[in-house]
Symmetry: C2
């Protein structure tokens, strides 16, 4: 069913089975499984709910809908004794959610790190390979069809966040809505950051989805992250996706592949259908039966190392002032490196801190950004360890 | 059940359910699933066959048994309407076989490359990191418990071959016994090879299991391979395993994790049990219903690029002779580099060929190794592209 059933899609389909009226499917008793690939919230939500109420299993790739209406969708599936499968919603064609939910069922998942947005990863990869600015690479990505005309959703981390919501349910048994966690995109990253990361920290910049359990508290966040070169995630380039998980029994596991696109999505959708067909009566629960998450940790209490790029005038006393501010907030500096100014313009000061509290670093940023000799907003990237 | 049920295993088990007599399990009607972790061919085979004949599902990690008695085991399972599950047999705790068999079921698998022996990978990684000889690293690995006292099975590629047999069935629907394909270990690799690979070819040496379909012919082989640094498999280090697969719909997919050990194995075994418990009546077939493999390609007809390390005296005419032999066999040289001799001893000549036929390269090796000025057996490593 589609509103447009006349355009040639390059696939031969018996015109008799095509319809512009969704009820021809949702009300057809001979149909057991409905595949929803409409996308977006509405009318997709209504279609899926109606399908399930009419006793049909649903296969969908709609991460936005799942991330927003998770409980309603699951409740409806349970009430009607049907399944809703969504392997394609995270990591595209990578067999990921089913292995996480079933293959790793013996494990308490401790950590999930994901590169799960192909557009952002493509842009960061090209910026690193070619030393180009974000805007330039974004334009090229749009021309290549790797980025939407309005790329906000991908480059600001929202798509990553929606997928992380789904991963958190399956890994930790807890639903956290996007408004409740830190989501930050890649638009402020420059080739300078990437170069410093490579040369001084032996790391690469990746947009990571992070969910990890720390003594009963769930850290959940999306932001650019410095990934050490020898971490497998550092080698995940271009439009590829990967999810790195640590289970308490299995240890680290990584799944890698194409996170989007017509064919990878089709691969996952067909697998879901076959899975349902294997046993139409089986119900599937997602995530652990009881969650070990006692609470979601507030971002202000997250601790890590930070990379800072402060753009300041090259004057005496500048470093002294900045280090004083950091020191007052309990932030100690691991390394600092300042470019010499050649023409009295502001120059970047690159800093890496020891472990510090997010609350303190944010407070420090506020103070530093207001200093007279600081000429641009400071860029902050968290380090993965 | 074990022959020894008195040793403290660090886990509390009701002594009432322990037995030294296997029939207490195999003939107990209340037992639905038998987990076989005895290893080896016998009595494991008899135990499993009897369990299945008595209507019990079987979960096993026994790759050797599966690789040797595949058809007998599957026939017995089908005849008795039970399942035999073996997720732990390849890639340990990595959810790998189930995702390959079901998650990628929409795909025709085109390529499988695996690093699936932790011992060999650990040794190659340490040789590369520390510049040490095979023997030295092997001894350390034995002390650390990463290598057996008799390491033949791991370092000569037989363990890798057995796992590849299982992967080939699931990927291509064809059973090839080990005697029918090329299996070569890592004992002849030296730090010189690894150094040249890194510095001149930007590659690392890995013991790869390779199965790929080329126009209806299956290439299946196990040997040390030069993997380009930017291939994800090049970053799979220490005892870790990874399998890289290409499906015609999904494209490339990689699964990574710990390939052996008590806990990773347990993770996979428990997952198999849960899988069976979900639906005791479901039968599972492994691999595609119809195989696209028309024949297994003879190794002599495999084509690739080769790295050669020829150890020869530093005399006039040596390179001329060798290049003549190669040229006569239709092998052209891409690059050559010769160390200067400092003390009249034989020196290594490093060569990389363009694409050549295995048959021709083997013929060339025979001739070259017999030359008067060639002082050691030539080392040959195939390149992955």
């Amino acid at each position: 069913m589609d509103l447009d059933i006349t355009t040639d899609r390059g696939v031969e389909v018996d015109p008799q089975i095509l319809s512009t009226n969704v009820d021809d499917i949702l009300e057809d008793d001979e149909i057991d499984i409905v595949i929803e690939l409409v996308g977006g919230y509405q009318p997709a939500l209504s279609f899926i709910l109606k399908a399930m109420k009419n006793g049909k299993h649903v296969v969908t790739a709609n991460k936005a809908l799942l991330a927003k209406h998770w409980q309603e969708l699951m409740d409806c599936a349970h009430r009607n004794g049907v399944r809703i499968c969504f392997e394609a919603s995270v990591g595209g064609g990578i067999p990921l959610l089913e292995p996480l939910n079933e293959g790793l069922a013996a494990n308490n998942i401790e950590t999930v790190y994901g590169i799960i947005n192909g557009t952002a990863n493509y842009i960061l990869t090209k910026m690193a390979d070619l030393g180009l600015d974000f805007d330039v690479v974004l334009k090229e990505a749009q021309l290549m069809g790797y980025a939407e005309q309005d790329p906000t959703f991908d480059v600001e981390g929202h798509d990553t966040a929606q997928k992380l919501i789904i991963l958190s349910i399956l890994s930790f048994g807890i639903y956290v809505e996007e408004e409740k966690f830190h989501v930050e995109g890649i638009t402020r990253i420059t080739p300078d950051d990437i170069k410093f990361a490579r040369e001084e920290l032996d790391s690469v910049v990746k947009l990571l989805a992070i969910a990890q359990l720390d003594d009963g508290e769930l850290e959940i966040r999306v932001h650019p992250t410095l990934v050490p070169q020898d971490h497998l995630l550092a080698s995940v380039n271009d439009v590829f996706n990967a999810v790195y998980m640590v289970g308490d029994v299995v240890g680290p596991v990584l799944m890698y592949g194409q996170g989007a696109g017509m064919m990878p999505t089709a691969s996952a959708v067909v697998a879901d259908c076959m899975n349902i067909i294997q046993d139409m009566k089986r119900t599937v629960d997602y995530g652990p039966a009881t969650s070990r998450v006692k609470k979601v940790k507030d971002m202000s209490r997250v601790e890590c190392k930070y990379y800072l790029r402060i753009t300041a005038l090259d004057e005496p006393g500048v470093l002294h002032s900045i280090s004083g501010i950091l020191s007052d907030l309990d932030i100690s500096i691991e390394s600092v490196s300042q470019k010499k100014s050649e023409d009295d313009e502001a120059v970047p000061i690159f800093m890496v801190t020891h472990h510090a509290l997010e609350k303190n670093i944010q407070e420090a940023m506020k103070i530093i950004n207001k200093l007279d000799f600081v000429k641009k907003e400071t860029v902050l990237i968290r380090l993965l360890e």
